[in-house]
Symmetry: D2
Amino acid sequence: MIRIGVIGYGYWGPNLVRNFAELGRARLAAVADLDPKKLDLVARRFPAVKTTTNYQDLLSDPEIDAIAVATPVNTHFELGMAALKAGKHVWLEKPMTETSLQARKLVDEADKRKLILHVDHTFIYTGAVKKMKELVKDGELGKMLYYDSTRVNLGLFQRDVSVISDLAVHDFSILDHLLGEQPNAVSAGGINHFPGTPENLAYITLFYDSGAIGHVNCSWLAPVKVRTVLVGGAKKMFVYDDLQPSEKLKVYDKGVSFTDDPAQIYQMRVGYRTGDMWAPKLDEAEALRVEGEHFLDCIETGKPSMTDGRLGLRVIEVLEAATSSMKARGETIHLRQEKAL
Amino acid sequence: MIRIGVIGYGYWGPNLVRNFAELGRARLAAVADLDPKKLDLVARRFPAVKTTTNYQDLLSDPEIDAIAVATPVNTHFELGMAALKAGKHVWLEKPMTETSLQARKLVDEADKRKLILHVDHTFIYTGAVKKMKELVKDGELGKMLYYDSTRVNLGLFQRDVSVISDLAVHDFSILDHLLGEQPNAVSAGGINHFPGTPENLAYITLFYDSGAIGHVNCSWLAPVKVRTVLVGGAKKMFVYDDLQPSEKLKVYDKGVSFTDDPAQIYQMRVGYRTGDMWAPKLDEAEALRVEGEHFLDCIETGKPSMTDGRLGLRVIEVLEAATSSMKARGETIHLRQEKAL
Amino acid sequence: MIRIGVIGYGYWGPNLVRNFAELGRARLAAVADLDPKKLDLVARRFPAVKTTTNYQDLLSDPEIDAIAVATPVNTHFELGMAALKAGKHVWLEKPMTETSLQARKLVDEADKRKLILHVDHTFIYTGAVKKMKELVKDGELGKMLYYDSTRVNLGLFQRDVSVISDLAVHDFSILDHLLGEQPNAVSAGGINHFPGTPENLAYITLFYDSGAIGHVNCSWLAPVKVRTVLVGGAKKMFVYDDLQPSEKLKVYDKGVSFTDDPAQIYQMRVGYRTGDMWAPKLDEAEALRVEGEHFLDCIETGKPSMTDGRLGLRVIEVLEAATSSMKARGETIHLRQEKAL
Amino acid sequence: MIRIGVIGYGYWGPNLVRNFAELGRARLAAVADLDPKKLDLVARRFPAVKTTTNYQDLLSDPEIDAIAVATPVNTHFELGMAALKAGKHVWLEKPMTETSLQARKLVDEADKRKLILHVDHTFIYTGAVKKMKELVKDGELGKMLYYDSTRVNLGLFQRDVSVISDLAVHDFSILDHLLGEQPNAVSAGGINHFPGTPENLAYITLFYDSGAIGHVNCSWLAPVKVRTVLVGGAKKMFVYDDLQPSEKLKVYDKGVSFTDDPAQIYQMRVGYRTGDMWAPKLDEAEALRVEGEHFLDCIETGKPSMTDGRLGLRVIEVLEAATSSMKARGETIHLRQEKAL
C-alpha cells in the first residue's frame, strides 16, 4: 500500500485528494495547507487523514512514500526538491516549475535518487489522446504533417501567468507525447489587452526537424469555448474536439497524393483522396484516475512516468521559448540548432 | 449605360460575365480570352457580346467604359496599366498584383487619370461583413481587440501562389475594411509539406498600432472545411461562421471588466460580463451583384470604391510582409515604424 | 426555519437531500429509507440528520413541517396521503402517482387540510423554461401554434414504467405550464421492441381547444442524445436545445403572413417573415435549488406551487390518455368534450 | 439512342430537361407546355429540341420512346395513361397520382403493355439512401426496429396539397425501399393553422407486421430547417442528416442486449453496447442523374425500375391512409389485416 501526502488544497488539490482517496492500491495519508479552514474541509470529508499547516510534517513522516504538490507554480521547485531530498516520489502539478533550470535540477535530483518524478499533464491520460498516440504509433496516421490547436474561452483571467502557461501548455505536452520530438524553433505573438495583466491571448507556431509544424491559438477572451485540434498525417487526419460529449476523436481517411503524370506537368499534379470517417470508441475512464494508477505503477516498477520530469522539462523549455518570442512580438526563438534534413 | 469588357474567361471570368450581364444598368460589351474554345462558350450563351482573342480590341474600343481583368495574377499589372492608359475604368481580380510596387503604380496612374480602380475583394460586399462593419462603425463592438480567422479545407492546391495569397488575403481585406488600419508588423509561419509546391499551410499574426492583434490560420490540408472568424471588442464580440446556411453572424454581449476594488487587489480584478446573443438578419443579396452595382456607382459618381486600389495595395503590402516572414520561419517583418501609443 | 424530512434515498433522493441541506431557510431534519446501508451514507455525509428505516418516524415527528417523497411511483399515493393526514406539506417526485384517481384524492386531501402539495417537475424551474413562459406571458411569442419535442437517447431502459412516464412526462408538464391548457385529445403510437419490457419508444400527439398541437417523440433506443423542442407562435418561434452548454434557447423572429392581395388569388398568398435571431441570457441557477426555494415560499405564504397537485394531476391524466392510446395502436383518446371554437 | 419527351416545364420540368439533355445515351426530343413563354426558354437553351403547346404531339410522335410527366399532380393520371396507351414508357413526378385507384390503373396498363412505369422518388437514388439500403440488405443494420424522420422548415406553403404530400412522401418512399414492407396501419395528427389552407404540419406513425415502427414529423412552419432520420436496428443504428455537407450518414455500433442472468432478475437485464461510429464515403453523383441512367437501363433491359409504379402505388396508399387519419384527428387507419406474428 503506497502512502501519499498532498501539499496544497486550493483549486486543484481537492481533485488530487479525492482521486488518491479512491485509488484502492494507495492510501491518502496526510494533507498540508497553509489555510486551517481548508484543512477543516479535508478533516470533515476524510476523518482518517492527517492534516497540517506545515508541509515539513509530510516530508519527515517515514510512512509517506510519495508527495503530490498542488501549490502555486512559484513554490513547485522548492517543495519538489525538498520532497525528493526527503526520499519521496513526487507528483507535481503543471506547469512543472517557473524555469527550465529549476526543472532540470529536479530531474537530476530524481535521477540521482532513483525516485519517480511525475508531472500532472492530465490530457495525456485521456481516452482521446491515448487513441491518437496509438494511431500515431501504429503508423495509421502516417508521418505527422501538422498539429493545429484552438483552445479559447472567456476567462478565467489569471494573475501570475500568461494564457500560454495556462492553456497552450496542454498542447505542448500533447505535441511532445505524440511527436516524440521537441521543436527546434518557436514563434509566438500575443497581447495583454489590459495593462498590468499577463497576456490573455497568444498564437504560437512551433517548427520541428521532422518537417512537422505545430500551432496553438489560445485565449481567455473569446465569446465561445473552443477545444479543437486538427492533426494532419500523410495517411489520415484527426479532428479532436474535446467539447463533444461523444465522438471526441474523428479519424478521416483523407489526404493528397502527387502524381508524376507528365500530362499534368503544368498543373499541380495533386490528387485528393477522401474516404470514410471513423470515430473510434474511446476509453471513458477518468483521466485523473488513469494517471493516478500509472503513477502508482511507476512507483512499484521503478519505470519512468509517461509524463516524467523530462517531458515536464521539455514543456517548460517550449514555454520559455514561446514566452520570449511573444515578448519580442514574434521574433523566432531557436531552442537549438536545427538539424540538417 | 456603362459598357464593360471582360478580359479572361477562365476560373472566375464566367462569374464576372454573368454578373455584368445581369446588371440592368450596364451592358456587357465584349469578352477577350486567348482560348477560342472559351470564347465559343461565351458566344453561345451571350450571342450579342463581341468576343476576341486579342484584349487590345477591348482597349481600343471607344464604346467600352470599363475593363474587368480576370486573368492570372502575373498579368494583372500589364493589363490593368494598359486599360488605365486607354482611359478605361478598371476592375481587377484579387490579389491585385504580384508586387506592391506594381500596385502603387496602378494607383498612381488611376489617380492621375481620375479613373476608378477597383479590386475584387468580394467578401467586403457580403451581408455578414457589411453588418460587422456597421456594428464597428456605430460603436457597438467597442474598440476592436482582436480578429482571429480560421480558413482551412482540403484543396485546392495551387501551382503558383501560396495559401496566403489564396485564402489569407480574404482576411487581410476584411481586417483592413473593419479596422481602417494597416498592421505595423507581421509574423508568419508556414510550410510546404510537398517539395516544389507553394506553402500549403500558414499561420499569420498581425500587430496594430491601436493595440489590436490579428491572426489568420489558413490551410489547404485540413480534413474539414472551416470558415470561422472570432472578433473581440471592448463591448461586444462576434462569431462569424461563413459556412452556416443562416445565422452566419452572432453578436455576443460578452466581455471582461476590470475593477479597482481594493478588496480585490491581490486578485485579477476581472469581472466577466455575459448577456444575450443576437444573430442579426443579414442582407442576402449576392455579394458579387452588390459589388457590381457599387462599381457602377463609383464610375457614375467618381467616388472611390470601398475596395479601391489603395485598399488593394495595402493588402498586397501585408501579403508581401507575411510571405517574407514565412520564408524566414516567423521572423517579424515591420511594415513601418510602430507609432508611439 | 422549515424542517424537512425525506423518504427514499435511492436514485433521486440524494439530490433532494443535498438540495434541502443547502437551502439556508430550511433544515434537513430526517431521512428514511428501507436500506440501512443507504442511511449510513446519509449519516456520514450529514451527521446531524436523523435516519430511520421507518418512515412513520418522520410522520409522527411534530418538528417536521414537510415531507419529500422520492420512492418508486407505486408508493407515492400511500406515502403522500399518510404525510398529508399527518399534517405535513408534501413534495412528491414525478410522476405524481400511478393513476389520476390517486392524484385527485391527494389534491382533495391537501385542499381540505390547506397543505402545500408540490410535484417535482423540475424542468419548470430551469432558466430556459422560465424564459419561455415569460415570453409567452408577455405576448412575445404570440398565440402558440405548436410545441414539438424530441427527447431521445440510448437507455436507461426502465423496468416498471414506459418511456412516456420517464421522458414524455417532462414535456407534458412544460406544455401545461406554457399553454395553461389541457389537451382535449391524445393520440400515441409506441412499441416495446423487446417482449416483456415496457414501451421503449413512443410518439405522442396532443390536440388543444385553442388550435395548438403538441407532439413528443421519446425513445430509449436512439444512437444519439437529443433534447430539442421547437415552439411555433404567431409572432415568434423558439428552438430550445437543452444539450447546448450555452444559448439553450433561441428566439426566432420568423413566421408566415397571409395577404388578401387579389393578384395572388391563385397563389397561396403566404409571405415569409424572417428577422433576427436572439438567444436571451438565461438564469443559470440550478433548477432544483430554485424549486426548493419556491416550495419554501409556498409553505410560508400558503400560495399554491407552480407545479402543484393540480398540475401533477393534469399531467397524470395526459399520461393515462397517451398510454391508453399507445396500447390501442394510436386510437385517439378524448380527455373531455372538445369545446366548440 | 432512347428518345425522350417531357411534358411540363414549370417548377421541376427544367431539371428533368437538363438532366435528360446531359445523359449521353438518350436524346431529349421534345418538350410540351401550355405556356409558350416557357417553350421559348427551352428553344433558346436547347435549339435542337422540338417544342409544342400540345402534348398530343409528343404522344403521336413515333420517334419518341418515353414520356416524362412533370405537371401538377391532378393531371398525372390522364397524361400517364395517355402516354402508356400511346406505347410510351413513362416517368411520372411524385406523388404518382391523386388516388390509389388511379395509380393501380396505371400499373395495370403498364403491365399489360410491358412498358416501364417509373415514379420520380429521387431520394432513393441519393448516395446516403443507397448506402443505407446496402447496409440493410447486407444485414449490417440487423432487423430494423424503427425509422424516425424529422423533415421541417419554414415554407413553402402549398396551395393544393398538404405537408404530407409534399414532405412526408419522401419518407414513405425511403421506408418502402429500405423495409420492403408496407405498413399495416397508420395514425397521423396534423393541423392547418390558417383556415382555408392545407395542413402545414403533421406527425405520422406507421406500424409494420415485422414489428418495426415508422414516424415522420413534417412541417412548413419550423424556425429552422431539419432533415434528420434516425434508424434503429438490432445491430447498428443510423443517423442520416441530409443537411450536412459531408458525413451525411453516420453508422453507430450501438444497441441494447438482454441477458438472462438470474442475478439481474429484478432489474431490467438490459446491457448497452456502444462501439465505434463510422461515416462511410457516399456516392456523390447527382441523384437525378443516377435515376435517369437507371430509367434508361430499365427501358433497355425491360426490368422494372427500383421506384416503379408498384412502389409509387404503395406510397399513395400510405399517403391516403395518413391523410384520412389526420382528418380524423389521429384515428388509426388500417391498410389491411395485420398479419399474425
